[in-house]
């Protein structure tokens, strides 16, 4: 629902990392999106190009999204199991004293970037 706002946050983070790492251009951003994060990867992909086009740093870059499945953890029996938004009971013992152990993350894993190397060569 707020994919646009998240995209702007992602680009801000990447811009900061680019400045810190002498990056001239971003080729790709690898993003991990939890299956229970509420974000729709198809919407992130659809809006990425127009949002990225606003800054030459991101010209022609790609957004690669890896979906991280939800994981439940049962406090009663200790089982770890795949969790969906619909299944809030332990898949092993059926108990409802469960917590989410993954699936809500939105993480920029890494970026593939072109760095300008001339400056470093000058130092050498």
């Amino acid at each position: 629902m707020h994919e646009m706002g998240i995209l702007y946050r992602i680009l801000d983070e990447v811009r900061a990392a680019a400045a810190a790492n002498n990056v001239a251009r971003i080729r790709a951003i690898r993003l991990q999106v939890g299956g229970l994060s509420g974000l729709v990867p198809a919407f992130l992909e659809r809006y990425y190009a127009p949002v990225a086009a606003e800054d030459p740093l991101f010209l022609g870059s790609e957004l690669d999204i890896e979906t991280i499945p939800g994981k439940g953890l049962c406090r009663a029996c200790g089982a770890s199991y795949p969790a969906s938004a619909e299944a809030w009971k332990c898949a092993v013992c059926g108990g409802d004293d469960v917590r989410l152990d993954g699936g809500r993350e939105i993480v920029i894993r890494d970026i593939l970037a072109e760095t300008a190397v001339e400056k470093e060569a000058n130092h050498g």
Partner: protein, 222 residues
Amino acid sequence: MAEIRLIDLKRSVLADNDADADNLRAELKRRGTFLLNLMSSPGSGKTTLLKALVPHLAGKVRWGVMEADIDSSVDAEAISRLGVPAVQLHTGGMCHLDADMTRQGLRGFGDEHFDLVVLENVGNLVCPAEFDTGAVRNMTLLSVPEGDDKPLKYPLMYQTCDLLAVGKTDVLPCFDFDRDRLVRNARARNPAIEILFLSAKTGEGVAALADWLLRQVREWTA
């Protein structure tokens, strides 16, 4: 000449907001202000409930209201007509508030000191639950016409809230809303959630909500 590099980031996109929210909570603690984040669907009766709280809180606590909407200031006007300071935040199309927008909203009160500030978040059961506003407690209001199955459909909202208020109980006879089923559904999502039934129209439960708020304020500012 360019070189292609893989730069490891492992940055959580919401981590900066979470840290900012913690900072805001620390600021509020220093100032002795309890901030409640009130969330619900549009039309569940948030503003009407706040208006009903006015006489119950009068003389007991200095309080103000921040109204967050995509547009218009009808909610803030309705609250300030009752003598409670209110600021209106416009999210400009955003579906939720984050900690920085909340901090800006608090600045709208100027130097006035409050023991309690209620943030009336954008009416939406999805996005507001995902962003920590810096509030001390989260409350969600569910009105009877919305149905007792909402905790099943919007689990995160109920997981992030400390208090669930079920409003518009005056219309219970008109709807297939089962109070026990609602309690079961909410507790399945969040075993620790407190639940109050109330009606701003008849006044049922409003005093209990005021007591809950005053207790929270006392504990936070002690």
